[in-house]
């Protein structure tokens, strides 16, 4: 990645608060069209980082460039903020109607009345808020307020969008519908985005890159597969959990029976993805069955790969096996099974998992 490709560049950021350095980030950048997820424990500095990117935090040092141009005046910041949108951690609605709230960013940009009206209508509709347009924003339920704050951000149709835990307080169906809808908008418009989230499946589902923060620093970043499968240290390993994430490409789709090519092998799964789609295949370790001989019985476990045990480690009440089947695969087995099957490092095995155990996540070419 050369400098020119970057949409947003942050350099040498340091933020001190109450005598403590709460953020220390030598460099961070966001590319055109990129979707980045920011994860990390409470107090890691995620919100502070987002705010810093729009110059909303007093900082000790640090510079931001947008499309290669250094932001160095109030006017530049204003320009940047007008091309972007941010959903803060609390909804922070204005004390007026839902309509006015969604319109606020547009009004600030001096749009005409008629245009504001149609735009707001569009986004109210999209966030299922039309019926409460004239309600006071102070009288909404938690989830409704959240939706208004999202609609307010999208209504300005930004080039980049920053979300700070936008889906907290949303019920699962709404959350599902909204993430899909937003994902579509973001892809369609070619919006770049940074999402702060505590939900890893959300991070995986939506992002091309995951950034893990801790104590004000970036401890690891990379494509989801890299972060999930190869945590750089104990902290990240414990924090991200241990799903296997495989990169692949859909090669066929017959009646939603999908075949994905992963490292030269084929994986059976189900889904809507069309051939040619780049995807992640996620497989939970507890769903991988290990057999020492080729299982003869016809089972519904459609994926069966010969391989060998690469590594064994203890994981609470059971054991964690790192399998090498041409691609890495993690499996949990009980100690009893481990003994019965006479497993050990280097042992040849067959790993199987059901097609329905594979979660597909679309990904864009990085």
């Amino acid at each position: 990645m050369t400098q020119q490709q970057n949409l947003l560049d942050l350099k040498e950021l340091r933020v001190d608060r109450g005598g403590v350095t709460v953020l220390d980030i030598p460099s961070f950048s966001l590319s055109e069209n990129e979707f980045v997820s920011l994860i990390g424990p409470n107090g890691a500095g995620k919100s502070t980082l987002l705010l810093s990117l729009l110059g909303l935090m007093k900082r000790q040092t640090g510079s931001v460039s947008y499309r290669g141009r250094l932001i160095d005046s109030q006017a530049d910041w204003l320009d940047l903020r007008r091309r972007t949108a941010m959903v803060l951690q609390e909804p922070l609605l204005f004390d007026s109607t839902v309509f006015d709230n969604v319109a606020s960013g547009l009004k600030l940009r001096g749009l005409g009345r008629a245009e504001i009206k149609t735009r707001v209508a569009t986004y109210l509709e999209r966030f299922n808020l039309t019926h409460m347009a004239q309600r006071s924003a102070r009288k909404l339920s938690g989830g409704e307020a959240r939706r208004v704050s999202l609609a307010r951000a999208f209504a300005v149709e930004p080039e980049v969008i920053f979300f700070d835990e936008p889906f907290a307080n949303l019920d699962p169906p709404t959350r599902q519908a909204l993430t899909e809808d937003m994902d579509r908008i973001i892809r369609d418009r070619g919006i770049a985005a940074i999402l702060v989230t505590h939900d890893q499946s959300e991070a995986l589902r939506m992002s091309q890159r995951i950034v893990v923060m801790n104590s004000g620093r970036i401890v690891q970043q990379g494509i989801p597969a890299a972060v999930m499968n190869h945590p750089v240290n104990e902290f990240v390993a414990n924090f991200v959990g241990m799903e296997t994430v495989l990169e692949g490409e859909v090669v066929s789709n017959r009646d939603q029976q999908i075949v994905v090519q992963v490292a030269g092998r084929e994986l059976d799964t189900v889904g809507d993805e069309q051939p040619g789609t780049q995807v992640y295949c996620c497989i939970r370790p507890e769903n991988v069955t290990v057999s020492v001989s080729h299982p003869d019985a016809r089972t519904s476990a459609r994926n069966l790969y010969p391989g060998r045990v690469a590594e064994v480690s203890s994981m609470g009440p059971f054991l964690k096996l790192l399998l090498d089947c041409g691609f890495p695969l993690t499996a949990y087995v009980t100690r009893e099974s481990f003994a019965n099957l006479e497993l050990s490092e280097g042992k040849e095995i067959h790993a199987s998992f059901k097609a329905t155990s594979v979660h597909l996540i679309r990904r864009r070419a990085a």
Binding site: L78, R81, T84, A85, L88, L92, F94, L108, Q134
Partner: protein, 232 residues
């Protein structure tokens, strides 16, 4: 007690008969104090918001000074402004003393710290991140101030009314810099004081009833406008 009753009767009479002189006095009061409040709003709201939002050394002292300014005795303001405007004073060449303009100036000086002090308090009480949210929405400085003012409109309304109430009811400065010249700088309060001095208590009460009615009307209109903007 009879005096009070008489006062109310008189007020009703004056209002009913649309007494030209009283009407003129009342309108002048409204105009002068309205203008003064407007100016104090322009100054007090903007500077107050600025002070509330920025942090700088000496802020605490500045806030104390502003709050102290709320206690500026009108007489003192009148005195200072008079001295400035005296023919031989630094601003004497403007020939403003004993004109309605002089009253507006003095009342602006009185109302500004009130509006500013209440503004600072109200702004500091807004959620800290609200400012960031507004900026993130792409607000300019001016728009930021405006949106924050809208958010804090309830305490600010009270502040504006305190300012307006303070100046329309004050008498010390109006007398000193206005001179209570009949038909020119006589406002409701100076007329009230004069009538009191003349021993015409009923007339004094009548004038103050009219003053309060004015205040109430202004207030009610402001409240109404504000509530209309805001959904129930």
């Amino acid at each position: 007690m009879d005096v009070i009753l008489e006062g109310f009767t008189k007020a009703a009479q004056l209002l009913a008969s649309l007494d030209r002189e009283v009407l003129g006095i009342a309108l002048l009061s409204l105009k002068v104090s309205g203008l003064a409040t407007l100016f104090s709003l322009l100054i007090g709201l903007s500077i107050g918001t600025l002070v509330a939002l920025t942090s700088f050394p000496g802020k605490k002292i500045l806030v104390s000074v502003v709050n102290t300014g709320m206690g500026l005795p009108p007489v003192v303001v009148g005195l200072f402004v008079s001295i400035m405007l005296w023919r031989n004073g630094p601003l004497g060449y403007l020939e403003l003393l004993y004109t309605p303009t002089a009253i507006v100036i003095a009342q602006t000086v009185i109302a500004t710290p009130i509006v500013m002090g209440v503004t600072i308090g109200a702004m500091q009480n807004l959620p800290a991140n609200l400012r960031l949210q507004i900026l993130a929405l792409g607000a300019t400085r001016v728009q930021l101030v405006w949106m924050l003012i809208k958010e804090a409109r309830l305490p600010l309304m009270a502040g504006v009314m305190a300012g307006f109430g303070g100046v329309i009811s004050e008498v010390g400065a109006s007398i000193m810099v206005g001179g209570n010249v009949r038909g020119y700088t006589r406002v409701l309060t100076t007329a009230t004081v004069m009538e009191t001095g003349r021993g015409n208590f009923d007339m004094a009460i009548a004038l103050s009833v009219i003053l309060l009615l004015f205040c109430f009307a202004v207030n009610y209109i402001l409240t109404y406008i504000q509530q209309r903007e805001r959904p129930r």
